[in-house]
């Protein structure tokens, strides 16, 4: 366990050196809420009470999604930049290696989402310790699930990075668009809502909103949402552990 933490800490240390990048993400987040969020909340006013808050949490879920996806991308980049063979030669199990990657992903997600989330909750007068804690927990579980999906798909990159990039771009577009990140399920057209129920973002977004005190009538059942988010995290991480263990090799050499 000590070695897993050492490996995770080594990567997180590098993450912390990218302060400017985080400031940029937070600034972009603030800009998106103050301009697009405000405009959209005027458009839908009357249908969804406090849409700006709904939108802000949706934007937070997208940030979590991006962060989770970046863990998968990092994994693939490690392979192609030559770091993966080195990691695979270290005295930790393949599952330990994956756990270190997951810890890195958690740190990445926390750094990107926690400051803006606390800022939103504070400025909108919805900041409670319990609500924030459980919302963050829901977002982290969602982030782990997304990381698991991306790492599970990384075996494609060992055949072709181009196919992997195209596949992930397509998958990301579908998971984000067909979800409740920006629109409550009950307002979606009939053809749209069943597809949205297939996206893990739907469950993560609605669960986080429920913990933060949003109108439950506009959200999915929180128990169902919690069960799905947990199942996706556990399922995809287990799958990615199997893939790392059995399929992925460090390099292809002559």
């Amino acid at each position: 366990m000590n070695r897993v933490l050492t490996l995770a800490a080594y990567n997180i240390k590098l993450l912390l050196s990218e302060r400017n990048w985080f400031f940029l993400i937070w600034a972009l987040f603030a800009l998106q809420i103050t301009i697009f969020g405000s405009l959209m909340s005027r458009l839908v006013s009357g249908k969804v009470e406090d849409y700006l808050f709904f939108y802000s949490i949706g934007l937070m879920v997208i940030t979590v999604f991006d962060s989770g996806a970046s863990v998968g991308r990092n994994f693939v980049e490690h392979a192609h930049e030559g770091e993966l063979p080195y990691y695979l030669s270290l005295p930790i199990s393949r599952r330990g290696f994956l756990a270190a990657q997951a810890l890195y992903g958690v740190a990445d997600t926390m750094l990107k989402t926690l400051p803006p989330l606390l800022g939103i909750l504070f400025f909108m007068g919805r900041l409670t310790v319990l609500g924030a804690f459980f919302a963050v927990l829901a977002l982290l579980l969602l982030g782990l699930g997304i990381s698991g999906i991306m790492i599970s798909m990384s075996f494609i990159a060992f055949k072709s990075v181009d196919i992997y990039s195209a596949f992930i771009a397509g998958l990301s577009a579908l998971l984000v668009r067909f979800s409740t990140v920006f629109y409550p399920l009950i307002f979606m057209p009939n053809f749209y809502s069943p597809i949205s129920l297939l996206s893990p973002l739907t469950y993560g977004a609605d669960l986080a909103r429920w913990f933060l005190g949003f109108d439950p009538q506009l959200l999915l059942n929180p128990i169902l949402a919690a069960a799905v988010v947990t199942a996706v995290a556990v399922g995809t991480l287990s799958l990615s552990a199997r893939i790392v263990d059995r399929i992925i090799e460090g390099v292809k050499v002559g």
Partner: protein, 311 residues
């Protein structure tokens, strides 16, 4: 360390074909072969990065395919391509590596500092990895293993891209590591490196072991024991060429026809016969050089190709 009938396929390409190979405790085993002979594939399997297609490989009696984590506890590898960790500094990379292998924290920093000084990395200790030269990056690869001091140390072409002075330093440090108790495997296609380091040499060709022995035994195994290199003032006639070939040994003429290389059993018997035949045919000799066969000759003898040839 041993392998039994070890094979590795990449699609339809056989990188290793039923390889049987063993390394004794405390020796430096050099694996000699041209690019593409399967050296790196073998090393990657030994350090559990690649999985064998079939066969068995054991390190300190532990099966690499079944108990990879245990194997990684006792081995260290300096990769052929020193890549990765672009935004870390050499000192930080070595500290991380030492902590992953539980090097005594009280001795860690001294060991790292000394290794960086020994390998002339001290001045570059605070540069980012991406700013190191190819030679410095290779030294850093070696430094990782020297700091780690594993039971089984693997070096994949440890001195490619390193200047001559640096090569000698790395070779001496590898020998020092062996003297401290490590078993060492070095893969290379450089004859000088093999001659300097090897207790035994395994020649690998097209994924198979061709021969394994000490360098003196390998040289003795060549037909004849001496190499005679003769320079003629003018190209040799076909008649003289035939006559020299009939004197015994293995005789090869240069394409220009004025240089000859012969591998013979006893140079002291062969050279007088050769000079006499040349005199009788009116061929003037400008120089004669008698040497021992090199590992290149050994490789040529056993595989029919040179180390520079493609497999």
């Amino acid at each position: 360390m041993e392998t039994l009938n070890l094979s590795k396929k990449y699609g339809k390409t056989d990188a290793l074909r039923g390889l049987n190979f063993e390394v004794e405790e405390g020796e430096i085993m050099v694996i000699l072969g041209p690019n593409g002979s399967g050296k790196t594939t073998l090393l990657m399997i030994l350090c559990t990065i690649l999985k064998p297609t079939s066969g068995i490989a054991k390190v300190v009696g532990i099966d690499v395919a079944k108990e990879g984590t245990k194997v990684r506890e006792v081995m260290g590898i300096a990769f052929q391509e020193a890549r990765g960790f672009w935004r870390h500094k050499p000192s930080s990379i070595l500290r991380f590596h030492a902590s992953m292998f539980d090097i005594d924290p009280t001795k860690r920093q001294d060991l790292i500092d000394q290794t960086m000084k020994d390998l002339e990395l001290w001045e570059s200790r605070d540069k980012l990895f991406m700013h190191l030269s190819g030679g410095q990056a290779k030294r850093l690869e070696t430094a990782k293993v020297l700091v780690q001091r594993p039971k089984l140390a693997i070096f994949d072409e440890p001195t490619s891209q390193v200047d001559l002075r640096g090569k000698r330093k790395i070779w001496d440090k590898i020998k020092e590591l062996r003297n401290q108790g490590s078993t060492i495997i070095v893969a290379t296609n450089e004859v000088r490196e093999a001659e300097y380091l090897a207790d035994r040499v395994t020649i690998l060709h097209q994924g198979q072991r061709v021969v394994c022995d000490t360098i003196p035994h390998l040289k003795d195994a060549i037909a004849g024991g001496d190499v005679v290199e003769v320079d003629f003032e003018d190209p040799v006639s076909a008649r003289l060429s035939e006559e020299l070939k009939s004197l015994g040994g293995s005789v090869a003429l240069s394409p220009q026809g004025n240089q000859m290389r012969a591998m013979v059993s006893r140079a002291e018997d062969w050279v007088p016969k050769m000079t006499s035949a040349s005199y009788n045919q009116g061929a003037k000799i400008s120089s004669i050089k008698i040497t021992e066969p090199s590992l290149d000759d050994v490789f040529m003898q056993f595989t029919g190709t040179t180390l520079e040839d493609k497999p």
